[in-house]
């Protein structure tokens, strides 16, 4: 029992991190149509801001986390100005590729600032764990899951109960009509770039205490989030979160009960097979056109 619960709990924690990053990807994609490959490096940046504030300057956890989110929001806005705004009339691929270049630049700036040395960000809970049904669950993981829940609820509220949300949904539903209706895309895209970056930064500062902070941190986590985004159908937040948890739990269970030998291959296999069977993702709407 403890074995099963332990695997399940770590699957849920891994899923929550992937979901947090994936929500940022989905949010940005809904508004701008852009898939931001710099999301992983924004996460790394969040982790380093956390180390900088908490370890180097001794700032308390909650204000530090809030400052990190604000700072990464600012970086997201800057990325919109540098890499997206000038390319608005270009094909979407040009923007996606400029996010690759932005990711490169961001990573080299991080290395210039902090070096390649591995660092650590202490958890506000220390190493304490919650003993539940025979399994040991770190409080940091509980915090991650809780924050992901709150963020999801907040985003849902924003999308369905606010004017910004209506504008975002209008853009997602029918971009051209929304533009004709006078939705101010410029302002929205700045806001969404900032928000989605802030989500990555939050993910970074939350996940850092469970891992080691290095310039490669974000890239490692990015792939499972992409898998979740793709399987979730790219535009549905609920489905994306579900997919994130699903992938992580299946991976843990497969490693625990099927074979631990090919752990590294599982996520790729799941993704590839799922996309062959369901080209737009498990939950994506399939637009079938017959002629």
């Amino acid at each position: 029992m403890g074995h099963f619960v332990g695997l399940l709990a770590s699957g849920v924690a891994q899923g929550a991190i992937a979901a947090l990053i994936a929500l940022g990807i989905v949010l940005l994609h809904q508004t701008t149509g852009v898939v931001n490959f710099a999301q992983g490096d924004l996460l790394t940046l969040g982790a380093y801001f956390g180390v900088w504030l908490v370890v180097d300057h001794g700032i308390a956890t909650i204000p530090a986390y809030l400052i990190v989110v604000a700072l990464v929001f600012g970086v997201g806005v800057a990325m919109e100005r540098i890499g997206y705004a000038p390319l608005r009339r270009q094909p979407i691929l040009a923007v996606v590729i400029s996010t690759f270049a932005l990711a490169l630049g961001l990573r080299s700036l991080i290395i210039l600032w902090q070096g390649n040395d591995q660092k650590t960000l202490p958890s506000p809970f220390g190493g304490r764990v919650w003993h539940f049904a025979g399994a040991a669950i770190p409080y940091q993981s509980v915090l991650i899951v809780a924050v992901t829940g709150v963020v999801l609820a907040g985003l849902m509220l924003m999308l369905h109960r606010s004017s910004i949300g209506r504008q975002v949904r209008a853009l997602a539903a029918d971009r051209e009509t929304a533009l004709l209706q006078g939705i101010r895309v410029t302002r929205l895209s700045v806001l969404m770039f900032g928000l989605s970056a802030a989500l990555a930064g939050l993910g970074g500062v939350l996940v850092a205490p469970t891992l080691t902070v290095s310039p490669q941190l974000g890239f490692t986590l990015l792939l499972s989030s992409f898998a979740a985004t793709v399987l979730g159908g790219f535009d549905r937040m609920g489905a994306t979160v579900l997919a994130a948890f699903g992938i992580a739990i299946v991976q843990q269970m497969a490693a625990g009960y099927v074979s631990a030998d090919y752990v590294e291959a599982y996520p790729y296999l799941i993704l590839l097979v799922a996309l062959v069977l369901r080209p737009s993702g498990l939950f994506g709407e399939v637009v079938r056109v017959r002629y």
């Binding site: 891994q14 390649n116 040395d117 650590t120 190493g127 490692t220 843990q252 625990g256």
Partner: protein, 390 residues
């Protein structure tokens, strides 16, 4: 209309000129007053390019030059970025060779040594590398002028399993290694060593070096008498953390990532309980006069914190090379290769003397990490190890 026909060839011509600029390396004679140039092939970018990566070699150069250099000639080094892949390493070595160095020091991955071996052989420039695979010995590589100044993974795994078998005396061991070639090879050697030492039951787990969760492995290791890890600092650190969280109290024996884990305080003291690791050397804990002089010089130059033990061998490599150049009476590649084969040097980390496999270094130490960076203890020193095993 004429523009498009003139611009494109102009671009081509510009590229050709640019390529030519790349092709012309520096060319200087090696008169007696000229400084001795050494090429440093470190990891200048990427995960291992830490901020202190040049500390020890800068110190070595300063120490050599403070004594008037070698035979009245100053020594200087230039760093070349070996990049990620063996092919990038090959390009860096070609670039270095174009600058005509007296020797090359510092190639650190097995793949880069294998990829550059044929080139180094034909160039004849003496090379000191620090890659770990035992397959890089002279008998398999077939290159006379390539030497190794660090321990092989066979030496390290031998020291570690010997220590485990004779001290922890476990019946059941959990073995965690990552899936990169070096760790795979080490895991094979560890398993062989443990089995030979009477460990009947070994639970093995392989994880990718990008793993972010080791719960499955930690749970599978419940009830073992000892755990052994062989991977990278990120994975070893994660294992120590999750081991503590899941109440796995059996002692852990790890690879030289321990140096980085303590150096970067990657784990709080509570998670270091029962953690031991093998490392090539640890000058802070050594009583030898060479090590104490090195530590004093290092602290004078870079501040009072403990030295990075991973760097000390870089210092020794330059000193060994200097001793060999002195012995050879110059930097003639053939004479220098011969001198490296015969030179003995008492360095910071211990004795350096080439064996039949062109391995210069034969020692390892086991460290008890429980006291953290400042309170770590030296448990045992292994000397006289040979490249294939003990």
């Amino acid at each position: 209309m004429s523009h498009r026909r003139t611009i494109a060839p102009a671009v081509l011509a510009a590229l050709a000129v640019g390529a030519a600029a790349v092709g012309c390396g520096g060319d200087s004679g090696s008169g007696s007053g000229e400084p001795i140039k050494i090429a440093w092939m470190g990891a200048e970018t990427g995960e291992y390019a830490t901020k202190d990566r040049h500390y020890a070699i800068d110190l070595a150069i300063a120490d050599i030059n403070a004594k008037g250099g070698i035979g009245g000639r100053k020594v200087e080094y230039k760093a070349y970025d070996g990049g990620l892949t063996p092919q990038q390493g090959l390009t860096a070595v070609k670039k270095a060779l174009a600058d005509k160095p007296a020797a090359i020091v510092g190639l650190s991955t097995t793949a880069q040594v294998k990829a550059t071996a044929p080139l180094l052989k034909s160039a004849g420039i003496p090379t000191l590398h620090v890659a770990q695979s035992h397959t890089l010995g002279k008998s398999t590589l077939n290159v006379d002028n390539v030497f190794r100044y660090g321990p092989t993974e066979a030496m390290q795994t031998h020291a570690l399993t010997d220590y485990i078998v004779n001290n922890a005396k476990p019946k059941k061991v959990g073995l965690l290694a990552s899936t990169d070639p070096g760790s795979e090879e080490a895991a094979r050697l560890l398993r062989a060593g443990l089995t030979a030492g009477g460990v009947a039951n070994i639970v093995e787990r392989r994880v990718p070096q990008t793993a972010t969760d080791l719960t499955e492995a930690v749970l599978a290791f419940r009830g073992v008498d000892a755990t052994v890890t062989w991977s990278f600092p990120t994975i070893d650190s994660l294992f120590l953390r999750q081991r503590g969280q899941n109440g796995l109290t059996a002692p852990t024996f790890g690879d030289n990532s321990g140096g980085s884990i303590l150096g970067g305080s990657l784990n709080p003291p509570a998670e270091l309980k029962g953690y031991h690791y093998v490392i090539a050397c640890d000058p802070d804990l050594s009583q030898s006069p060479e090590a104490q002089a090195y530590v004093a010089g290092y602290k004078k130059r870079y501040g009072p914190s403990p030295t990075n033990p991973q760097l000390a061998q870089g210092y020794d490599a330059f000193r060994v090379l200097a001793a060999a150049i002195e012995k050879a009476g110059g930097t003639d590649p053939k004479a220098l290769t011969k001198a490296l084969g015969g030179v003995t040097h008492q360095g910071v980390c211990g004795a350096y003397k080439a064996d039949g496999e062109n391995d210069l270094y034969h020692s390892d130490v086991i460290i008890d990490a429980e006291g953290g960076l400042t309170g770590r203890k030296l448990l045992k020193t292994y000397d006289g190890l040979t490249s294939r095993a003990g």
